[in-house]
């Protein structure tokens, strides 16, 4: 026992004390303390395949976790659209990855995951964990995006990206033709006639996509009747014919089609082609989600002056709908069956740290749903659009119908028919109600 007598024990005690203090403090995102987290194996979903330019972002987070919790191993599973069928079957069979993008609090088709207790309850972590700016993790998330994370008051997902649907415009084309980014319905109609007169397509829209066409009607409807009423009509909870705003929205859409607001040949155009045309300067505007820049990154000319503005207001519409936005939060959940849920939460905390969010905004063009993270550079008006979310509601785009084939068909098929001039607004309203009634049989 010579080590005790010669005082070396004091050094050991000091080391143990330091370690205890370090581990005992409140965990903070981006800090080096990871209380109660043990090493283990995680399978995490990622939106980019290995080898893609974006993949290192996921790996960077994983490496941070491995550094903080030595002995941890991570498998990255591609979890984007192409891989969803396989992953969805795994959830169905009770064998999900530890971290996956499966839940959205505004999408009823994902609620079964909550009611079947397949998701780990993140409420305590979100409310008690401190984020980088000193606020709790929950408070750091912009309020407009929180409903996308919860089900019956429980946090079942945490967000790493915000998405908003806005009216993108080619600043150069608009400037050269004396058109200002449209703020109201009148501005939009004027922009259409001015650009048409100059031989420029006012608006690009992918006619082959029911959703990209449908976004126009969705926004017009939300401006006319307000977000909640629009959501209820879209999901068949209330009849379209009972709300005169639906007919007015349809009439506005018909007016756009009849005034040739949409580029010639839109009916047969696919979305990549119309986006390319927009960035080639062939049109003034395109209504699109903020994924547009990341998606078309390699096709955007370096001197392209891109701007975004909220969807124009409708003077005769409901006041609740005038400023409202469509969007969502891309959010990640932890499987209730995860063997290491705390480790999975730690992975998400690192992924959603201020530093990582800022890096992703810079490298990938992502918009962060967290307060204080700068918006990606290069799109004028994007900061204003995001700031608007602090004052208004964000409704899930397509009303979440894209996750339900039958409701989506019931809603967007009549809209497409109106777009193509096959039916008139009154018929469209009747057809929506008939389709919804049919679904209830």
């Amino acid at each position: 026992m010579t080590w005790f007598r010669d005082g070396r024990w004091m050094g050991l005690a000091a080391m143990l004390l330091t370690a205890a203090v370090a581990c005992g403090g409140t965990a903070a995102t981006g800090s080096t303390s990871v209380a109660g987290v043990k090493a283990g194996h995680l399978e995490v979903g990622v939106l980019w395949p290995q080898g893609s330019p974006e993949f290192p972002a996921a790996e960077r987070v994983g490496n941070q976790l491995i550094k903080k919790v030595p002995g941890t191993t991570i498998t990255y599973t591609f979890a984007n659209t192409a891989a969803r069928p396989k992953l969805d079957l795994r959830w169905q069979q009770g064998d999900p990855p530890d971290v996956d993008q499966v839940f959205n609090g505004a999408s009823p088709s994902t609620y079964h995951l909550a009611t079947d207790d397949q998701l780990y309850d993140l409420t305590n972590d979100v409310k008690t964990t401190q984020w980088d700016n000193g606020q709790s993790w929950e408070q750091a998330i912009r309020p407009a995006f929180r409903p996308f994370l919860t089900y019956q008051g429980k946090y079942l997902a945490v967000p790493d990206q915000a998405v908003l649907i806005g009216l993108y415009f080619n600043q150069k084309v608009l400037n050269e033709n004396g058109v200002k980014p449209p703020q109201t319905w009148g501005d939009l109609m004027n922009a259409c006639s001015t650009l048409n007169a100059k031989g420029i397509a006012p608006i690009e829209v992918a006619g082959t996509s029911p959703y990209y066409k449908g976004m126009w009607f969705d926004y017009l409807l939300m401006r006319e009747v307000g977000p909640q009423a629009a959501f209820d009509i879209a999901w068949g909870k209330t009849r379209a014919a009972d709300n005169p705003g639906v007919l007015r929205a349809a009439q506005h859409l018909q007016e756009m089609v009849q005034n040739h607001c949409f580029a010639k040949g839109f009916e047969g155009s696919q979305f990549t082609a119309v986006q390319l045309d927009f960035f080639r300067g062939k049109a003034g505007m395109i209504l699109m989600g903020t994924w547009l820049v990341g998606e078309m990154k390699t096709s955007i000319p370096s001197d392209f002056q891109l701007g975004i503005t909220p969807f124009p207001t409708l003077p005769d519409g409901a006041s609740a709908g005038q400023q409202a936005l469509f969007g969502t939060a891309f959010a990640w959940s932890v499987a209730a069956k995860s063997k290491d849920p705390k480790l999975a939460v730690e992975y998400l905390r690192l992924e959603q740290s201020k530093q990582e969010q800022a890096q992703r905004a810079k490298d990938l063009g992502n918009i962060s749903p967290y307060t204080g993270v700068p918006v990606p550079a290069g799109v004028s008006g994007l900061d204003n659009l995001l700031a608007k979310t602090d004052k208004t509601s964000v409704t899930i785009y397509y009303f979440g119908l894209n996750k339900d084939k039958q409701h989506s068909d019931a809603w967007y098929t009549p809209v497409a028919q109106l777009f193509f001039g096959k039916i008139d607004p009154q018929q469209m309203v009747s057809q929506i109600d008939a389709n919804e009634a049919n679904l209830k049989k």
Partner: protein
Amino acid sequence: MERSMRPLFWPMTAPALALYWLVFGIPALLTVAYSVVQVSGGGVEFVGAARYLRALHDHFFWSAMLHTFQYAAEGTVLLFVPGLYLAWCLSQVKRFQRLFRVLVFAPVVMSALVVSLIWKFIYNPNWGLLNQTLHSLHLDFLARQWLGDTSTAMTAVVIAAVWHSIGLWVVLIGAGLERIHPEVLEAAKVDGAGAWQEFVWVTLPQLFPVLRSLAILWLIESMHAFTWVYVMTEGGPINSTEVAATYVYAIAFQSQDFGYATALATIVLAATALVAVLAFRVLYRRDVVEVAA
């Protein structure tokens, strides 16, 4: 079966039967089983025929089934008439016959995904090859929104599928033509038959067994048409190209309603079997009648 062959029966057929059950029999039975139970998070609950009753009222599904038959019918016309003609032309060619066969067969070896993407760009209304060609030939009045017009979209998709498949049909029909004894054709000529009469009254009946098999194969293939529609139109415009396979896929993986999707898949499976049996019976009877005659 001959007595000497009996000991070989099971050793020879067992691997094929095992494979058949593994890749078709068991999955098909499981599909039917899943259609009457609710599986969620590992738990199972019996729901009986509820999903089949739901399917009865699903007019989008029946509309998709109708489009499937439209696809099959259009494909039959677009595939067999040119296929037969091309095969006959090739049989008449004496020089470079193999080269021409390779050229006709080439699209078959290409991925359906790649071919459908190529055709999607060919059909692009603004800068696609088809409309550009029509414009340069001053045939602007023929230019269309090929995939964006409900009246042309399905035919446009079928043409792409036919372009991809026709090579195989030409080769198989060509093989059938080669099997016709020259003496039979000579006899027809001696009896005074012209080229057209020889083709209609001698060649076609001799080809009937091959054409019958191809017709049944095409009908079955049509019932499962997926790639062409999924890649080129995703069922649009206005659901005019939505076929059973794309609809079932969307119910499963867009709505994540796997239970309902298995019920619909079972209906499609039954319809496919029914179509195959009916087609075989109709065509088989004709064959028997002709042989008897």
